[in-house]
């Protein structure tokens, strides 16, 4: 659908900044108009990339869990990690569906990370570094330029 959602949100943001904010009487109201504009721009960025970000991240975390299952000593946790990795299939591409999968995968990643930290051996250390790299990458995927 054109204009696409990003263009619409950016258009509303520009109107807020250039047409609404100057008409607002109080500093609080002006700040609110400016904040709304920046927020719309951030949401426009997220709208475009969110499904891709979640899909890519779900694949990356699932791969880590599948490999970590062979290293964590706790057999129950290993089984949970294997099952979660195998369940990384989405019936649709709705953001809410992908987010639900992401939440399940990252919850198990927390437990696996904690277990790996306590596990001796080179394999565990290599896996620990791989998890840290994924966590760094997760912040790059979510990075936005706007600051308040």
């Amino acid at each position: 659908m054109k204009p696409d959602a990003g263009r619409v949100l950016n258009g509303v943001a520009i109107s807020l900044m250039t047409k609404v904010a100057p008409e607002v009487r109080t500093p609080f109201g002006q700040q609110l108009a400016g904040l709304s504009a920046v927020l719309l721009r951030v949401v426009a960025t997220e709208f475009d990339r969110m499904a891709d970000r979640l899909s890519v991240e779900n694949g990356a975390v699932a791969a880590i869990l599948a490999d970590a299952a062979a290293i964590v000593p706790d057999t129950a946790l290993a089984e949970r990690a294997r099952e979660a990795a195998a369940a990384n299939t989405s019936p649709d591409l709705r953001v809410s569906t992908l987010q639900g999968i992401n939440d399940r995968l990252r919850a198990i990643l927390v437990d696996v990370h904690a277990a790996i930290e306590e596990t001796p051996g080179e394999g565990a250390r290599a896996m620990e570094e791989r998890i840290w790299e994924e966590l760094r990458e997760s912040t790059r995927r979510r990075h936005v330029e706007a600051r308040i």
């Binding site: 904040l35 992401n102 939440d103 840290w132 966590l135 997760s138 912040t139 706007a146």
Partner: protein, 339 residues
Amino acid sequence: MEDRIAAYLAGKLAGAEEVRVSHLYRIPGGASRETWMFKATWREGGERRANEFILRKDPPASLLESNRETEYAYYRAFANSKVPVPAMRWIEHDASHLDGSFFIMDRIGEIESNTRRLQEPAWDAARPNIARHMYEILAAIHAFDWRTPALLEVSEAPEPGECWKRELDTWEAVVDANELSPQPIVRAGIRWLRRNPPPPPPRVTVVHGDYRVGNILYHRDGTIRAVVDWEMAHLGDPIEDLAWGFMKDWEWARDGRKGGIIAERDAIATYEAASGTAVDRDALRWWSVFSNVKAQGIWLTGTKSFQEGRTDELILPMVSYTLINAEDEALLESLGRAG
């Protein structure tokens, strides 16, 4: 709202008649409490009187579910001390007056609080003095004798060796209660904090809990006229305040200067000279990591409040979309895992 405030003041100002409220504005910021300023005029003993006030009102939900009684007690405790604070007038728990609990304090005139304005060239001369004063005041906060009934009524004094654990337990519980999605970086930070406890402080002190540029009211002459936002004040390890003020979150000039006004080494030197206490660098590192976890607890609380529809304050989704990830990045750096 003007009439409702005037009606409230009429019951509080002894002998006051014809109380009127005007120039009521909400002050930008104040994400945990609504902050309003207003002018009140009244007749007393045949004379016209006037004063400007600040009203801090509880919102339906916010970044931080804090205790207004505690904040008020700390403001009162520091009145007429070396730590400048606004004069408190009234605290009101009856929500029927203004649709929420609130307290009212005197407004301090001719001051600035804007964090970015302090970076402007017009403030070049005043900025170094403000920075020095800021860390001298922090030393005064930490030297304050907190063994008073008023403060002990709202704050429990931990043993020195327990300061870190009590704060970490508190903020881990905040994360537990408010995360809407798993937080792997915060959880890794919490595990690191528990594995590497800091050395105990030489003594337990008042901790402001949110001591940073943004919560000081400064004047063009280079002095600080008030320290505000005491809602997270407690008794604990003084290094907590230093670490909080050193966070990347508050590097407004984006050049590494803390609060956008002072290099970390200079802030520490000023604080050490004023307090007569050496800053333990291991403790500072621990409290730096802790500060990122605590900040994330605050951002997650605001996110949940907005997501669940308990508030429509737009600052909260802005925090969610920007600060939560920025805090994760900062926490990775504090942990030495930024790559």
